[in-house]
């Protein structure tokens, strides 16, 4: 799955698209080849993106986890026949291992046909010619997963093998007679292929039928010297063995031709396996995370209801916590304010991820969604400066990234701006942020701008969302229990986004949250005293 054109590494990291890729990863080589070619749908292909998501959702309705697992299990074990197909197409003679692979591939196609018979949405059909090839190779089936160049392929194989066995037996007998005679002459029970004869034991030289192959001062390394009958038996055996080799080669050539004539069917079946693998993974994903097809529209909007950011939802579920879905309507540039730890960044991630999923033709994790096909999704702000190392300060890194984002901003850009300019003074940060919004609006981009700075939405004449915030005071957990504090905060926080008029900005609740997270009472009291000083108000 290639989302490089849609996002850069920073944005892909912020939206955790690697998590998405892992969820959708196919299990077979065939699937991997299809998967790597998946790219975002470009502007103008809204109908195709919509159709893709609907196709996946339809498949998700027809398969359950057991069926998905069964299909993936077959696909996981299906051998890769790419090399066999290529060799057959070139006219090469295939080896027996290739026939094993092809037979197993044909078996897998048959198993898949049986498995998905009731799931028309998976669009599976065995390619014409696969059953024929299976019938041809079936004659060599040995056990469940084995293959042997059996006599059933050609009666001449049987004849040559019988002759070779007979010839081998004759040679063995001739050699055994020799060996027994030599062993007797050397007073031994038996002889290996090579054997030592001590010089001291020799009287009048080596016995007949023995030749020295290496000589040492005190002994000779010897082997049997074949006599005329044994040599003749050996000659006959070699001829018979050669005849077997020729017969086997002819059978392999004939089988390879059978494969060659069915290469188009194998190509088609391989492609279908790949598409099935990818579709099952996508349907499994959609089913597991209750995703629905978004309405893909030409306007540059992101409108979501009960939308979730799946990587976070999954982590929270693992920790036994629940995820609070959000609703938002982004049309043009919108500002998002709210308390610390109120989910502003997650709201941006949710909108960005849903736009990315829709662009990739996937159903989205929301109750409903209307989304445009963005050509570029750009993350700016917290976490976006990681790839810019060197001597740049945090502020400089942010500005450099802003420069790059603005340079490419267009009406098909979704910009997600997370507390930009937080590292400079509030006054100048606010000014920079308003200028950023104006530039994005001028480019026609859709943007969601999260900030703690007051007066931004009004000054920039932008729609303003805020997080509802704390319903009540979260109870500090005992003894600095961070997990307990977070759970308490989650119970007290209302993560709902509401649209507000003008510049109405709620409290950041930063000091209350600092208390919740374990800072001591004296420190907190001091902070509240200083809060009342308001030295910047002159």
């Amino acid at each position: 799955m290639n989302y490089d054109g849609l996002t850069d590494a920073t944005t892909a990291g912020a939206l955790d698209l690697a998590w998405l890729a892992a969820q959708l990863e196919p299990v077979s080589e065939y699937g991997a080849r299809v998967f790597e070619k998946i790219e975002p749908f470009a502007r103008g292909r809204e109908a195709a993106a919509q159709a893709s998501a609907r196709r996946i959702a339809h498949a998700a309705e027809q398969i359950d986890d057991a069926l998905a697992d069964a299909v993936r299990d077959v696909l996981r074990r299906v051998p890769d026949i790419a090399a066999a197909r290529a060799r057959a197409r070139m006219g090469d003679v295939l080896d027996d291992a290739a026939f094993v692979e092809l037979l197993r591939f044909c078996d897998a196609c048959t198993q898949l046909t049986a498995l998905v018979a009731g799931a028309s949405a998976l669009e599976w059909k065995t390619a014409d010619g696969i059953d024929d090839l299976r019938a041809v190779l079936e004659r060599g089936r040995a056990g469940q997963n084995g293959f042997y160049l059996d006599e059933r392929f050609d009666a001449r194989l049987a004849d040559t093998r019988v002759a070779a066995r007979t010839a081998q037996a004759s040679y063995d007998a001739a050699r055994r007679r020799l060996a027994e005679r030599v062993a007797g002459a050397l007073s031994r029970e038996g002889l290996e292929d090579e054997f030592i004869v001590m010089r001291a034991d020799l009287i009048g030289g080596l016995p007949a039928g023995v030749r020295a192959i290496r000589e040492a001062p005190t002994y000779l390394l010897c082997a049997l010297e074949l006599d005329e009958p044994a040599l003749e038996a050996l000659r006959i055996r070699d001829v018979a063995t050669q005849a077997v080799a020729i017969a086997e080669a002819e059978v392999r050539a004939a089988l390879s031709l059978e494969v060659r004539t069915r290469c188009p069917a194998l190509d088609e079946a391989a492609i279908r396996c790949g598409h099935l693998d990818v579709l099952v993974a996508q349907a499994r994903f959609a089913r597991r995370f209750s995703c629905v097809p978004a309405e893909i529209v030409a306007d540059g909007v992101v409108e979501v209801r009960d939308a979730r950011f799946l990587p976070l939802e999954e982590r929270l579920l693992l920790e036994g916590r629940t995820y609070a879905p959000i609703a938002a309507e982004l049309d043009g540039v919108c500002v998002l304010t709210g308390p610390n730890m109120g989910g502003k960044s997650v709201a941006l991630q949710t909108c960005g991820a849903i736009a990315a999923y829709a662009a990739l033709g996937l159903p989205v994790p929301a109750a409903s969604a209307r989304v445009a096909l963005f050509e570029r999704i750009a993350w700016l702000g917290i976490g976006s400066d990681a790839e810019l190392g060197g001597v740049l300060s945090s502020f400089a890194k942010e500005v450099v990234r802003l420069r790059d984002v603005l340079a490419r901003a267009s009406e098909r850009t979704l910009a997600l701006v997370d507390e930009f300019a937080r590292t400079t003074t509030p006054q100048e940060g606010r000014a920079l942020l308003i200028a950023t919004i104006e530039r994005l609006r001028a480019a026609g981009a859709c943007a969601f701008v999260a900030t703690h700075l007051a007066g931004v939405a009004g000054a920039a004449r932008a729609r303003h969302y805020t997080v509802r915030g704390l319903r009540d005071s979260p109870q500090p957990a005992a003894d600095g229990d961070l997990e307990g504090a977070l759970a308490s905060l989650a119970r007290s926080m209302d993560y709902t986004l509401i649209e507000v008029a003008g510049d109405e900005v709620g409290a950041a609740d930063a000091i209350a949250l600092a208390a919740l997270l374990g800072l001591d009472r004296e420190f907190i009291q001091s902070a509240y005293v200083h809060l009342k000083e308001r030295p910047w108000i002159r």
Binding site: A97, A142, F147, A164, R188, L191, A216, T218, V244
Partner: protein, 298 residues
Amino acid sequence: MDVGGALLDLALGGDSPGIAVVGTGKNVGKTVAVRAILGAAQRRKLSTGLASIGRDGEAVDAADGRPKPRFFLRAGTTFATARGALPSSPAVELLRVTEMPTSAGVLVIARVREPGYFEIVGPPTASGIRVTLANLRALGARLTILDGAVDRVAAIAGDDRAIVVATGAASGATIDDVATQARAMVERLATPAFDPLRPFVKIDGALTPGAAAEAIARDERRQIVVRDPSQIAIFGRAFLGLAPRLTVRCERPLRVVATTVASIGGDRYLDPVALARAVAQATGLPTFDVYASARAAA
């Protein structure tokens, strides 16, 4: 005498799943010993599986170019080799095409249908060997024979497989050298299992000369425990010097049952009778000369 049969009897004395032949070096008659055992198993009509560690059984040694014997396998023998090492004829019954890589393509498990000469190529890793041996047994081999490399014996540690140590003229300039090398290897491989009721200290990874020297310096009296004897990275005379000063033990012991000797190795010749006797005395194990069809008197 039937040396292969005698080795087979020693190996099958326990509830052994098979035999591994390991050498003290190259050209010490390891493959010849395997061939003798294989021949005996075939004569007794035992359902046999043959595997190798790394590349072996090829006509020419890949490392030094010297000629090496291939294996003549009879019908019914199961073996593991690389896909690229299978002969085009005689055809074999391919039982399993694995995804395990070897130096000559993926590993396949095959059964001989028509007798012939076969090259045996094995997986290079201990885990690959364990899987291969399990595959051979699952596919019907009652006895598995492993043409092994001593640095991969971890693969067979703890499974009661009998080990035959092959040594020969190629591993020492004199009979005394060869016997000493053989004794060191046998004692190292035969490192006893540790006694959990007595004090011990476990070593993560290999026991190196440096670690052993430190233990001696601090007068370590506890058992020094390695996972298996292949984790003792101290060889030859150095190991023999260490043995009386440290109590080295292992978690997964090996069962060394015999040694074989090859009096010809490379360009070197040693007296076969004296060599076999010296190795038998040094190791205290039954010692056989496959070439001479003889067992040495210790």
